[in-house]
Subunit: 194 residues, 2 copies
């Protein structure tokens, strides 16, 4: 690859491949450069340190679900209660797929997430902010009546941890999980309703 | 100690001390017998295997909080919504104290809990059953109106995982946790209310 063709996105794609192949403990910037057919100096021109590269690839992974969720948050087809239910279901499905379809990559990102707790906190802030927007929309439409939309949004996110926190991934394949998720959703939507 | 004075409870107390001192990887039945001044045969007369002893000590540890909670469940002083709030707050406080006051013992039981998942499942069933009793009491008094008390009880327990699941223990000391817990409680109680 010529240095001109080398974009941050290409580097991040290659980094994910390298992480998948060698695992987070062994993967190096030299491996990433080799996979791209460039010098490691070319990689460092885009990401100044190995830590910066690992942080960027973690952030990219987390952001993938945010984009999908933002479409629901910004949609105009459904009332807020339907949107919130769909948003939480989509979040759970996205996490469950990530964990189930490619468990090795999921475990790899589990390690990276431990290293980059600031990135994770920012990611969670963005998600809670989307929930707050949906709740405020519901308040305007007199469908929701929480004490305070911001803390209600945090509460909805916290109360559904079992269905999006990677610590619970081993439970996401058990047969009763969908009923349990539906019961929590019903209770929360009832708790928000006007 | 004479064999006559050797009760299961004395053995379990000594086992907890030994686990605390040597850690779960190194503690043996011989250590427990030595701490009690009896032969290991005397210990095996009460607990037939090392695994049975470890299971019993785990169960005893988990049961300690159940007794306190059962007092709330069976009390007659307060209406169901007050009871449920008090029950969940007591559970959170009990877990937070166990984690904060004696972190080594908490970590030790974390290992034992992994080994004895059947005991933990039974413990959780007992707790959810208590929540169901409180909810049914509230339904009779027309304070609560869930779709179905059993699945609502499970949902309340699941939705408060962040405040009783040991996986979240590192977060229980952060300053915002009490407000977050209060916001989840408010939402759930509103969701249950008639």
């Amino acid at each position: 690859m010529t240095p001109e063709a080398l974009t941050p996105e290409r580097i991040l794609e290659a980094t994910e491949d390298v992480l998948r192949r060698y695992g987070p403990a062994k993967a190096t910037v030299v491996d990433v450069a080799r996979a791209l057919g460039v010098s490691h100096g070319s990689v460092y021109r885009h990401f100044r340190t190995k830590a910066a590269l690992r942080e960027a690839v973690t952030s990219r992974w987390l952001e993938r679900s945010v984009v999908e969720l933002a479409k629901i948050t910004n949609g105009h087809e459904h009332p807020a209660p339907v949107k919130l239910r769909s948003w939480l279901t989509t979040l759970f499905e996205a996490k469950r797929h990530k964990a189930g379809d490619d468990p090795e990559l999921f475990a790899t990102y589990g390690v990276l997430i431990e290293e980059n707790s600031g990135v994770v906190e920012e990611h969670i802030r963005e998600l809670v902010e989307q929930v707050r927007e949906i709740i405020e929309e519901g308040v305007l439409a007199r469908q929701f009546a929480p004490a305070e939309p911001g803390s209600a949004a945090q509460a909805v996110f916290d109360a559904t941890s079992r269905f999006h926190d990677p610590a619970y991934a081993p439970q996401w394949q058990k047969p009763s999980i969908d009923d349990e998720f539906a019961a929590v959703l019903d209770l929360l939507l009832r708790g928000l309703s006007a």
